[in-house]
């Protein structure tokens, strides 16, 4: 299947996010760089979508535009029918673990977006998410004393605590070692199944994409277009040695143009 056209989500699911004819051109030192070229995409409510592509292809740029940190040169991004113009607590961007605030404790970080809540409710919310990401006993700890994986879970907890509709994750596990990364994928899926947030997850790791996503959006090198959208029709938990998993993964490898040999 060759799918440069937007794939609509099944009719039963409402569209949460729609990217409509988005192009992005950066002007720097008199040179213009064409990063995104007419991107069209729809993401359903509660869906888990991975943006997959080679480094520097513009997938992070697209994610930043979805968050409202960048505005597209042409085209529009809409969330729940509303055009995205600036960042909003209803969609939280999760950076690699360096996004946690080092001057705040675990509690302080999770409570960062909750200053408007009454004290009791805030504390309850903090306790709930401390537990959800398994940081009990570390409430008063500062990030520099936490491991990379713990910092990443802290950042996810900080994002979830404000009860957003969407999480936008930019290679969140990229800086972690491979074992921690595997554990974190499982944790993220567990949290996603519990909270059913819409998730857009940027990665350049094909396995990661196929393990996590409902749909994998394969992007080309710059200027990026959507090469293909692959439905991952395997139920969670996924057996990563099953024939279907390998078939889907190898299909993406071929699509990206990599011979599957080292």
């Amino acid at each position: 299947m060759s799918l440069t056209q937007p794939v609509s989500v099944p009719a039963a699911v409402t569209t949460k996010l729609s990217v409509e004819h988005v192009s992005m051109v950066f002007e720097r030192d008199g040179k213009s760089t064409h990063v995104l070229n007419d991107i069209n995409l729809e993401v359903g409510d509660g869906e888990f979508v991975c943006l997959l592509g080679p480094s520097g292809c513009g997938k992070s740029t697209l994610l930043n535009a979805m968050a409202g940190f960048l505005s597209p040169t042409t085209g529009e991004i809409k969330v729940s029918g509303e055009v995205v113009r600036k960042p909003d607590p209803r969609r939280i961007f999760v950076f690699q673990e360096r996004g946690v605030f080092p001057w705040l404790t675990v509690e302080g970080n999770i409570g960062f977006g909750l200053s408007k809540l009454p004290r009791a409710e805030r504390e309850q919310r903090i306790a709930h998410y401390v537990k959800m990401v398994g940081l009990e006993g570390f409430e008063k700890t500062y990030p520099q004393e936490l491991s990379g994986g713990m910092k990443q879970r802290l950042e996810v907890a900080r994002a979830l605590a404000v009860n957003p509709d969407m999480l936008l994750l930019d290679e969140p596990f990229g800086a972690l070692d491979s074992i921690t990364r595997l554990i974190m994928r499982g944790e993220l899926l567990r949290i996603w199944e519990a909270e059913r947030k819409t998730i857009v997850f940027v990665t350049h790791d094909i396995d990661e994409a196929v393990q996590l996503a409902d749909r994998v959006v394969v992007m080309s090198a710059r200027p990026a277009i959507i090469q293909q959208i692959v439905n991952i029709d395997i139920a969670h938990p996924r057996d990563i040695s099953s024939p279907r998993y390998l078939e889907l993964r190898d299909g993406i490898f071929q699509q990206i143009g990599l011979a599957h040999k080292v």
Binding site: K86, D88, F95, F101, W103, G113, Q144, V162
Partner: protein, 260 residues
């Protein structure tokens, strides 16, 4: 002992004490062997220090010097920190002000002494003004670079959680820049302590700087001169150590590297 090995507990005290003792011995024997009549021996300086303490002049001078530093440095903090934060926040404003600041910054506060005396006369306020000048620029510069070096992830995270501009400044930029600001304040305090001594030699008639110059002028009492100099060093050290304790506060600790 190499640079990697952890010094043992007794070593941490033993070697510095040994070094100080050797320096004292060097001083003592240099005075004896050269037979100088002008430069005092350690023992004479000790006696001079005792004399200063007994006549209660030393305390008054110390208090006067500290008071001037507190006023000058305090004013530099009160004006310099908000200005530095503002300039860091608005890079365009910084571009306007920066050239003027870069010209004023390298001028030794000592060069301002004649100007200070015209404005404030000979007295406390002239000295405080000089201390203020010495401390003000390092504080502003540290705040500007502290704020402009805040990683963009922190700013973006703050905006993502819906903070307004003043909230972003108070809850993200200030705490993120605080380690660098504290470093600037510490440097400024050191400069303030250097400047107070110089200012007191010319613009006022009390304080440790005045004590140094007065001990020389009234009867060439070099034992008192050296005693006052040592006192200046000890108080400077105490001020610096006291300030460094701030760096160990938990909410700024992440911004500093500690050897021990």
């Amino acid at each position: 002992m190499n640079s990697l090995s952890e010094p043992r507990k007794w070593e941490r005290f033993f070697w510095p004490i040994l070094a100080s003792a050797l320096l004292l011995a060097l001083w003592y024997y240099s005075v004896r062997w050269t037979g100088t009549k002008v430069f005092p021996s350690p023992r004479e300086v000790g006696k001079g220090m005792g004399e200063l303490l007994r006549h209660h002049v030393l305390w008054r001078d110390i208090v006067d010097s500290l008071r001037r530093v507190a006023a000058g440095f305090g004013a530099a903090v009160v004006l310099g920190v908000p200005l530095g934060l503002t300039l860091g926040w608005y890079p365009a404003a910084n571009q306007v002000v920066n050239p003027v600041m870069q010209i004023l910054r390298p001028i030794s506060p000592i060069a301002w002494i004649p100007v200070a005396i015209i404005f404030f006369g000979v007295g406390d306020r002239a000295a405080m003004f000089l201390i203020f000048l010495g401390a003000f620029f390092p504080i502003v510069v540290a705040c500007v670079s502290g704020v402009s070096n805040v990683p963009s992830v922190f700013r973006r995270a703050g905006r993502n959680f819906g903070l307004t501009a003043p909230q972003l400044l108070a809850k993200v930029l200030l705490p993120a820049a605080l380690p660098q600001i504290l470093m600037g304040l510490r440097i400024a305090l050191g400069i303030a302590w250097l400047v107070v001594v110089a200012a007191e030699m010319i613009a006022v008639d009390s304080g440790l700087g005045y004590l140094v110059i007065d001990s020389r002028n009234s009867g060439k009492r070099y034992d008192l001169v050296v005693a006052a100099i040592l006192m200046i060093g000890v108080i400077g050290l105490v001020l610096d150590l006291a300030f460094r304790r701030l760096e160990k506060l938990r909410s700024v600790r992440w911004g500093f590297r500690f050897e021990s």
